[in-house]
Symmetry: C2
Subunit: 241 residues, 2 copies
C-alpha cells in the first residue's frame, strides 16, 4: 500500500499550474487584447496558486469521501495433483496483477514448505484448510484478494473456506486420472501407486468432485491460455470495476 508524499503534492501542483496558467493567459489575452498584461497576470497567478493548490491537495488528503473500498475476492483452484492448478493459478495471478489490485498468491507447496509437518490425513487436511481460510479472511479484511491453489479434495473443507471468506470463486480443474499420470513429471503418481505415498488424492484417497464450482475447466481439452482467459474474464466482470 502507498501513501502520497508531500513531494508528490508539490510536483502535482506545479504540473497543474503549467496547464492552468497557459489557459488563463489565453483567456485574458482574448478579453483585453494585451499580451504583456495577460502574461504578467499569469505570472502572479502562478506564484499564488501553486501554494493554494498544494494546500488544497493536503486538505483532500485528509478527507475520506469518494474513496471506494476495494472488494476482495478469493479464487480457489481445486483439482487432482497435476491437474494444472499451480501452472494456471500462477498465470492468472500474473494477469490480475496488471490491474493494480492488492493481490496475494497462496500455493499449497509454499505453505507446506514453511510448516513441513502438516500431514495429509482427512483430519490434518481439514485443519489445514481452516487455517488457510483464516489467512484469506484476514487478508480480505484488509482488501486483499487471493489466488489460492490447493488440492482440497474434501467437500467439507471447501465448504468451510466458502463460509469463512467472501466472494469465493471455486475453479475446478477437471482432469481424468490417466491424464494426470501422464503429466507425472514429479513422479508422485508413481510413488503413490507403489504405496510410497499415503493419502494421495485420486490413488489411495478420495477426491470428492465439487458440485458448486463457479468455473469448471476440463484441462484435457482446454489450453492453459484459454483457461487463464476464462478465469480472468470472470474476475474482471464480477469484481474489478
Amino acid at each position: 500500500m502507498y501513501k502520497e508524499t508531500n513531494k508528490r503534492s508539490i510536483v502535482k501542483g506545479i504540473s497543474w499550474r503549467v496547464v492552468a496558467t497557459t489557459t488563463t493567459i489565453i483567456i485574458v489575452y482574448v478579453f483585453f487584447g494585451r499580451l504583456d498584461l495577460a502574461i504578467a497576470a499569469g505570472m502572479i497567478e502562478t506564484v499564488l496558486k501553486i501554494a493554494l493548490y498544494w494546500a488544497h491537495e493536503r486538505v483532500w488528503q485528509k478527507l475520506r469521501w469518494g474513496k471506494k473500498k476495494i472488494e476482495p475476492f478469493n479464487l480457489w483452484f481445486t483439482g487432482l495433483p497435476l491437474s494444472g492448478k499451480t501452472t494456471i493459478a500462477d498465470k492468472v495471478y500474473e494477469e490480475l496483477e496488471k490491474l493494480h489490485i492488492p493481490l496475494e498468491r497462496l500455493d499449497s507447496k509454499d505453505i507446506r514448505d514453511v510448516v513441513p509437518d502438516i500431514g495429509f490425513t482427512r483430519e490434518d487436511r481439514n485443519r489445514h484448510m481452516k487455517r488457510i481460510g483464516h489467512l484469506i479472511k484476514t487478508l480480505q479484511n484488509n482488501s486483499i484478494s487471493t489466488v489460492a491453489s490447493f488440492v482440497s479434495p474434501y467437500k467439507e473443507s471447501r465448504k468451510a473456506i466458502r463460509q469463512m471468506v467472501q466472494n469465493n470463486v471455486v475453479v475446478y480443474l477437471k482432469a481424468d486420472i490417466e491424464t494426470c499420470k501422464q503429466r507425472d513429471y514429479k513422479g508422485v503418481y508413481e510413488k503413490a501407486l507403489k504405496g510410497e505415498l499415503q493419502n494421495f488424492s485420486g490413488i489411495n484417497d478420495v477426491y470428492e468432485e465439487p458440485q458448486h464450482a463457479e468455473i469448471v475447466i476440463d484441462t484435457t481439452k482446454t489450453s492453459v491460455a484459454q483457461a487463464v482467459e476464462i478465469i480472468v474474464k470472470h474476475i474482471k466482470k464480477n469484481y474489478v470495476k
Copy 2:
C-alpha cells in the same frame, strides 16, 4: 484499502475551482480595473478548467511516482498468562488505528477459536508460531502492520518469528507469577495448579524470558495507560512518519 472514485475527482475539481477562480477574478480586477470583464473571464475560466482539472486528476491517478510504500511493523506481545497482553495490545491497537495505517490485530485466543485443536506442547506451539509468522509475513507483503499477542514462551519460536518478519518489536510484559495468580479472573492458574491444565506456562511448563525485547514493561509497577503510551511512542518514533 481504498481507491479514488471518478466522482471524488469531479467534486475535488469543483472545490478547487471555487478557490482558483476567486483568485483569478481578483488578479484580473487589480490589473485592468474592470470588475465586469474580470468576472466574465473568471466564468469562462471556470467552465474550461473544471474539465482540465478532472483530466489532470485522472492522469495523476495512473502515475505511481511520489507514492511512498508504507513500512509495516510487527508488535509482538509476550508474557505469562494474565500478564496483561490482550488488555494492553487491544488499547495499543486502538491508538494506532487513529494514525490511519493499515493494521491487523492478532490474538492467540481468536486464532485458537478458529482452529481449536492446536495443542500446547512445545512442538505444537512452535509449529503454531511458524504459521503465525507466515501470516504476519503475508500481511507485511501487503504493507499491513500487526499487533500480535501470544504467550510464546519459547525462545526458539520467538526467534523464528523475528527471522520471518520485518521491523519486529517484541514487548515483554513482565509480571511475577504471584501477581498473575492474583489477577486470575479466568481461573486458569487454579486449574493448572490442580493439574487440570497441562503445559501451562509458568506452572507446569517453562516460560523462557526474552533477552532481546525492544520494550520491557513491568506490569506490576506500570499502569495500562502508561504502558500504552510507551509502546505507541516507540512505534510513532520508528515506523510512522
